[in-house]
């Protein structure tokens, strides 16, 4: 199986360590994944803001970059959801069915680990009190369900604390976060309050975009809670401790 990693534009430019974690983790599990350098973005920011014409060339780049790979793994529920559910809309707009080709081969990281590789213990070690926020697109668009939690429960040393009202949105919502900034942060404030109530040191999620928002609020409130991507936790081993 030829496996590519879609690092995502936000991880590429803002959270490169998460991209590195995905490769470390996959290598440890015996998967020799590739980073097709022609990749850029899934076009979700354009599609979700209503700019379909602008999304067309971005999706074309996506499809070209990942042509020939059997599985495209991404550390983002949101970008996986975008590729799987929205590229078809862009394809219709462009009148080019080929643009919908890559979507069905995209897996969110926890799906790939649990469903494709069939593992739930990835051999990680992370001796911290952790709480987990299931991001909306992982939860309701991809329906990843318990998979991320199964992976976290198998991490040695990790103390998993349940997040109250976990399934409620954090208020990020892509361009919603700036177009309706006050509403976005009002929602985020409640998420941050629930995170604080757990007493966890680290908030983990499968999307750095949501974590950028929640983490930004936790930092502004000087809570001392760190945010980390699921991939960064799963990549950690005794050597890192």
């Amino acid at each position: 199986m030829k496996v590519a990693v879609m690092v995502t534009c936000i991880n590429d430019s803002m959270f490169p360590d998460t991209g590195k974690s995905v490769f470390r983790l996959l290598r440890r599990l015996g998967v020799d994944a590739d980073f097709p350098e022609a990749q850029t973005c899934c076009a979700q920011p354009m599609v979700n803001t209503g700019y379909l014409d602008e999304a067309v060339p971005v999706v074309r780049t996506f499809v070209d970059a990942f042509a020939g790979y059997d599985a495209i793994v991404t550390p983002s529920g949101s970008c996986a959801g975008s590729a799987r559910h929205q590229h078809a809309i862009v394809a219709r707009r462009a009148g080019d069915e080929r643009l919908a080709e890559a979507g069905p081969r995209v897996y969110e990281l926890s799906e790939f680990l649990v469903d494709v590789l069939g593992v739930s213990d990835v051999g990680a070690y992370f001796p911290h009190r952790v709480t987990y926020h299931p991001t909306c697109h992982s939860l309701r668009m991809l329906r990843v369900g318990e998979k991320p939690l199964r992976l976290l429960r198998a991490v040695r040393g990790l103390d998993l604390i349940e997040l109250p009202a976990a399934e409620e949105c954090c208020g990020f919502g892509g361009t919603f976060a700036v177009k309706n900034a006050e509403t976005s942060t009002a929602i985020g404030a409640d998420k941050a309050r629930h995170v604080r109530a757990t007493g966890a040191e680290v908030l983990v999620a499968g999307d750095n975009s949501c974590l950028l928002h929640i983490g930004g609020m936790l930092s502004r409130e000087r809570t001392g809670v760190r945010v980390m991507h699921l991939a960064d936790v799963l990549a950690s081993t005794e050597e890192d401790a």
């Binding site: 700019y51 971005v58 780049t61 309706n180 006050e182 950028l212 930092s219």
Partner: protein, 490 residues
């Protein structure tokens, strides 16, 4: 009710006011969390819930796809049972029909069953202009009417009011509208409800004409259905001599047997009960029982416009349960008034633009963006309206409607982003710029995030849109791409 939604500002501006009202925020949080828990409990009892949702969606879709045929069948069935059928293209035509019927009978007051569609068409205001008083008889509608307020929820229009506020409205305003509130009225919900009972009873007993909507209109039999709780609907539907029902054309269902789906879906989704206290069905005039003159006004008012939208069409399945409002993170914080319409919340964010069309006014165009696309509304919807899908679709229509003319800053930004993101080399170049900025910002950023990364505080506009309430990590010195190209391997 003299208050009006006309001239409301766009959602982000209207929301700001609601967000600053801490009493409103508490009222909404309490109410939405109460109803969420109740709904979850009674939906959880029904093993075949998903089958019911699928059936409900399919019945509605089949009806919508043959709406012309079902409307003609409904008309025929109603007429066969002695009902006069009127058709109204828009709000004004519908209001005129109702006013004319009242005038024919020399009636200067009517009683009303709570109905979304008569709110939508502004019936009370239109009747008032003709010297006819319309009394709202649903408790929440009464609270809104007496308080000269606007509805903020589909099911519970006064959801933004708590018991203490309601007591004040009753004490101050009931006397001018009829029987005054009792002395020493407390804020106990049971006492408040009893005060409404006494206040409205004299109106029910003397009313000659009532106006209702309908939750469902059965094409095959001509049966209309009103689902309610308090009994005010039963009063209006049985005591007056003349009954006028204003029915949106999307309310039609093919057969009486199809009600076995909706009478399960609606109450559990709506009030979170196994069944609402009262449901009335009537099939034209019943000799010796209830109104002996009946009219039905079939209303378009934008519904055929919505029907023409092949993605948006599904919004016409809506049975007005308001489950989507109750689970929506945006509605929970802003309440209903920010949506500037009698249809607030996620369904309002799609229904208003579908009924009115986009590209006409800024307020309507702002509604599809009033969502984080979290998807909780779809999961709660009893007829499986994919609200996030329709929201994204309508955003595209809003953008397309503005493609002619001078581009907004957002359009310029999106075009630039599209250009950068269409080519990995361009993206790499932009990231190198970020890396340079990072070195500068590293000296400016005074805050350190837990974990050791440097953060930026408040930035000038447009960065301020993010940083007014949120820190942001400083960009990394090196992108993933740059690291990979250097031969970086884990």
């Amino acid at each position: 009710m003299s208050a009006t939604f006309v001239g409301m500002p766009a959602f982000p501006v209207a929301a700001r006011e609601a967000l600053a009202d801490s009493q409103l925020r508490r009222n909404l949080e309490h109410a939405t969390h109460t109803i969420r828990a109740k709904r979850a409990a009674v939906v959880g009892e029904v093993d075949e819930w998903e089958e019911l949702r699928l059936a409900g969606a399919a019945i509605k879709d089949n009806t919508l796809l043959h709406l012309d045929e079902y409307l003609l069948q409904l008309e025929e069935s109603l007429q066969a049972r002695g009902v006069t059928v009127h058709w109204a293209r828009d709000a004004r035509e519908a209001c005129d029909v109702v006013a004319r019927i009242a005038q024919t009978h020399g009636v200067d007051e009517i009683v009303k069953v709570k109905s979304m569609v008569t709110q939508e068409i502004g019936l009370n205001e239109a009747l008032a202009a003709q010297g006819i008083v319309a009394w709202e008889t649903d408790l929440a509608e009464l609270i809104v009417q007496l308080g000269d307020d606007l509805p903020s929820h589909i099911l519970v229009p006064a959801i933004h009011r708590n018991r203490a506020e309601i007591r004040e409205i009753f004490r101050r305003r009931m006397a001018a509208a009829g029987r005054p509130a009792p002395e020493n009225l407390s804020d106990e919900p049971a006492e408040l409800a009893a005060a409404a009972r006494l206040h409205l009873r004299e109106k029910f007993l003397r009313a000659k004409m009532a106006v209702s909507g309908a939750n469902f209109a059965v094409a095959e039999s001509g049966t209309l259905v009103v689902v309610e709780s308090e009994g005010n609907g039963r009063m209006c539907l049985t005591l007056p001599e003349v009954l006028v029902s204003v029915v949106g054309i999307e309310k039609v269902v093919p057969t009486f047997a199809d009600l076995d789906v909706f009478l399960q879906l609606l109450p559990r989704s709506s009030t979170g009960e196994r069944m609402n206290p009262y449901t009335s069905t009537w099939t034209g005039i019943a000799p010796g029982d209830g109104p002996q003159e009946m009219h039905v006004v079939l209303l378009d008012n934008g519904r055929t416009r919505a029907l023409a939208d092949d993605v948006g069409r599904q919004a016409l399945r809506c049975i007005r349960c308001s489950a989507c409002l109750n689970v929506c993170p945006v509605y929970e914080r802003t309440g209903g008034h920010a949506y500037g319409s009698v249809y607030p919340g996620p369904i309002g964010a799609i229904l208003n633009p579908l009924l009115k069309g986009v590209g006409v006014d800024e307020q309507t165009d702002s509604l599809p963006y009033a969502s984080s696309l979290c998807g909780a509304c779809f999961d709660a919807c009893p007829v499986r309206i994919d609200i996030p899908e329709v929201l994204v679709h309508l955003r595209t229509k809003v953008v397309d409607a503005h493609r002619e003319g001078p581009p907004k800053a957002e359009a310029v930004a999106m075009k630039s982003a599209s250009w950068v993101l269409s080519d990995a080399r361009r993206l790499g170049f932009a990231e190198r710029g970020l890396g340079v900025a990072s070195k500068v910002l590293d000296r400016v950023g005074r805050r350190v995030l837990p974990g050791g990364r440097r953060a930026l505080g408040r930035l000038p506009w447009p960065g301020s849109l993010w940083t007014n309430a949120r820190d942001v990590p400083a960009p990394p010195a090196e992108s993933f791409r740059a690291w990979w190209r250097k031969g970086g391997r884990p």
